[in-house]
């Protein structure tokens, strides 16, 4: 594939054999201009939040989007819903290009794609009751006649495992996990086809985390939802996703079927992530027998040239500093953006991975 593949239409070829993608994201770029210091007049600087991301998502499928903070995964999630307008690139949902829709059409389409946020409490308007919160999509999209709304709200509450009397309460009366249930209830109230889950469990306690993940799995089965599951935790992503995309500094560095990726991660960064996951087994002492990835994520204001990971990659060569790798297939539906993908997969620069064992 040509270096410009990330921006071109060819990106969808990756999953070319699968038909009827629910969501197609093509060469998505989101840049923010911020006011920087400047000589006499303000100089604008650009945050490269998302820099050419392409993927697609089939109905009922879960795509995990994993990466560290600032890699652009949340921005991607929001831009997919057109909560933010992309600087360039295309988002097609159910075959319609979102950029071509009128604001009214977009609003109408929003009932088909919903989002669940990381901070369960912050995502709920503290001044509204749970009932108001859940019935709002019903009202806005006029999905259910007014008389039936209450009934529907109770139904939804039941669906996410909350008692009916929760409807009259306010978010602050609930724990984080319960709030997340409310957030999910609100998201599914509009009967969406796609749910963007933006780190839905990362602020929850482990015992509660599992409850929410279970709920999400159940709902997917019952309602036939597609999930774009955003997380920084490979373990959680691994438990939820059919396919996983790894992002680094605004780009997808590796995307593959879940099992393929977990079995044999190619990109050194993916491997670094795997190696860093703490494993609840004293026998597996991650990072002790292998090297921990060094350094930190560079500033997204001036991403490094060439391969963006080269500053931290133990395998980096001259070519990595100069030439930006594009996503290349290394297997069935498995693409890696690394000049030395195959070598890296074998070299295992970060030693033992969490999956090993």
């Amino acid at each position: 594939m040509s270096p410009s593949a990330a921006l071109g239409p060819g990106a969808s070829q990756v999953v070319g054999e699968r038909q009827e993608a629910l969501l197609e994201v093509d060469g998505l770029v989101v840049h923010y201009r911020i006011t920087g210091a400047g000589k006499v007049f303000r100089k604008h600087e650009t945050v490269h939040a998302v820099d050419g991301v392409s993927f697609d998502l089939a109905p009922r499928e879960t795509l995990g989007l994993v990466g560290e903070s600032g890699c652009g995964k949340s921005t991607t999630g929001r831009t997919v819903l057109y909560l933010e307008r992309p600087t360039s690139g295309r988002v097609r949902f159910e075959g319609r290009d979102l950029s071509e829709l009128t604001p009214g059409e977009l609003t109408a389409l929003r009932s088909r794609m919903q989002i669940v946020f990381q901070d369960p409490i912050g995502a709920l308007n503290p001044r509204h009751t749970v009932g108001q919160l859940i019935s709002e999509p019903l009202r806005v999209h006029d999905l259910v006649p007014k008389a039936r709304r209450r009934e529907r709200v109770e139904e939804l509450l039941g669906l996410v495992g909350l008692p009916a009397d929760a409807a009259s309460r306010f978010p602050h009366e609930f724990s984080g996990g319960q709030c997340q249930r409310v957030g999910i209830a609100r998201a599914i109230a509009a009967e969406p086809a796609l749910l963007v889950l933006d780190e839905p469990v990362s602020s929850l306690d482990v015992s509660v985390q599992a409850q929410i993940l279970q709920l999400l799995v159940d709902l997917q089965e019952r309602l036939g939802l597609a999930y774009l599951f955003i997380a920084h935790d490979l373990a959680v992503v691994g438990e939820m996703s059919d396919r996983v995309a790894v992002m680094y500094l605004g780009k997808i560095v590796e995307i593959a079927e879940r099992d393929a990726l977990y079995a044999r991660p190619h990109h050194p960064y993916t491997q670094a992530l795997f190696s860093a996951v703490p494993v609840p087994d004293p026998a597996v002492r991650t990072g002790r027998d292998g090297a921990v990835v060094s350094g930190e994520v560079p500033s997204s204001l001036s991403p490094p040239p060439g391969c963006r990971f080269h500053t931290r990659c133990p395998l980096a060569q001259e070519r990595c500093r100069a030439e930006e790798p594009s996503l290349e297939p290394v297997g069935q539906g498995h693409e890696v953006a690394c000049h030395f993908a195959e070598a890296a997969a074998t070299a295992r620069p970060f030693g033992r991975l969490a999956t090993d064992g």
């Binding site: 920087g36 210091a37 204001l301």
Partner: protein, 333 residues
């Protein structure tokens, strides 16, 4: 020197090139925008003043005949169309000349301000010194003794004195007690050092109360910050924690809160000046307005506006200097 201490921006927010340039560009933008607004303000005030019934000589000159009135108006250039007068004013202004006050035509406005403003500045400067320092002290003490009787006492007394009574009422009471009944201090007027005492007290109470409240709130907020706890966890002494950790950060926001109050104080209070018979800038404000003294009003507006603009810019810069986290953001706020 000033510019060099400015920090650029956060770790992931790119280069912090040209710190002096940041200040320069910030200043340029602010000043330009302020000038623009100032121009609007002067046009507005000029137009409004001329639409008010009665001219500058309507009352004070008694039963003037039409002809005599015309003579006077002509003498001060008031027979010209208003737009023309405005342009004349702007032209004079650009030469640093503010015209002749109709109320004191034996002086220029520049001279009048040069004689009246120092009085206001002395009162205002002392007021700022007294109220800000005392308010700060009381606020900090109240915050340290949070939830104790000391806190309640300070807050109650300061609020009552500073917030519950108009300052001229306090002025009356002070005069009644300290000048008339006790005879310790002059009733009013200007000349001896004793003349400043009562006006400064009366004028200080409100800003003092403000300062106390803001300081207390801000200090309390910082008292529970993570880094203060960490300072304690490193075994630092209470005094060090108070000065280097709590106050050093808690007082920073006060710059932006109390800074813009400074022009109000430095341009004087009509109430204080009238109560104590001080021939300061504030009293000219009322007289000029009541007597339609256009050049004087325009000059006073200019002073207030310019001072206000300057205080805003300075407090912004000061904020950026004392708080390394802050970036100058051009035209926001």
């Amino acid at each position: 020197m000033l510019a060099l201490r400015l920090q650029g921006c956060g770790p992931d927010q790119g280069p912090s090139d040209g710190r002096a340039d940041v200040v320069l560009s910030y200043l340029l933008q602010r000043v330009l925008s302020l000038l623009f607004v100032l121009l609007l303000a002067t046009v507005g005030i000029f137009a409004m003043m001329h639409s008010v019934p009665g001219g500058p000589f309507a009352f004070s000159q008694g039963d003037l005949t039409k002809v005599a009135m015309h003579n006077i108006m002509a003498k001060y250039g008031l027979t010209e169309p208003v737009w023309r007068q405005y342009l004349n004013w702007i032209w004079q202004l650009m030469h640093g000349y503010l015209g002749i006050p109709f109320e004191e035509p034996t002086m220029t406005v520049n001279h009048l301000i040069a004689t009246a403003w120092p009085i206001t500045l002395i009162i205002g400067g002392l007021t700022i010194a007294v109220s800000y320092s005392l308010g700060l002290l009381l606020g900090v003490v109240a915050a340290i003794r949070h939830n104790t009787w000391v806190d309640s006492l300070i807050t109650a007394v300061v609020s009552t004195a500073g917030i519950a009574l108009p300052n001229y009422v306090i002025g009356f009471l002070l005069i009644e007690v300290f000048a008339v009944k006790l005879g310790w201090l002059p009733v009013g007027g200007w000349g001896s050092p004793a003349d400043v005492v009562l006006p400064v007290i009366a004028f200080s109470l409100y800003p003092l109360a403000l300062m106390e409240r803001y300081t207390r709130a801000s200090t309390l907020e910082v008292t529970y910050a993570d880094y203060v706890r960490m300072g304690r966890a490193r075994g630092l002494s209470g005094r060090r924690i108070l000065f280097n950790y709590v106050l050093r950060t808690s007082l920073i926001p006060l710059i932006t809160i109390m800074g813009p109050n400074i022009p109000n104080i430095l341009t004087g209070s009509i109430f204080i000046e009238a109560t104590f018979g001080l021939p300061g800038l504030g009293s000219y404000f009322t007289n000029a307005s009541l007597h339609r003294d256009y050049p004087l009003i325009m000059a006073l507006v200019l002073i207030v506006a310019a001072l206000w603009g300057a205080c805003y810019i300075i407090s912004d810069l000061a904020y950026a200097i004392v708080d390394p986290r802050v970036r100058l953001e051009g035209l926001s706020r």
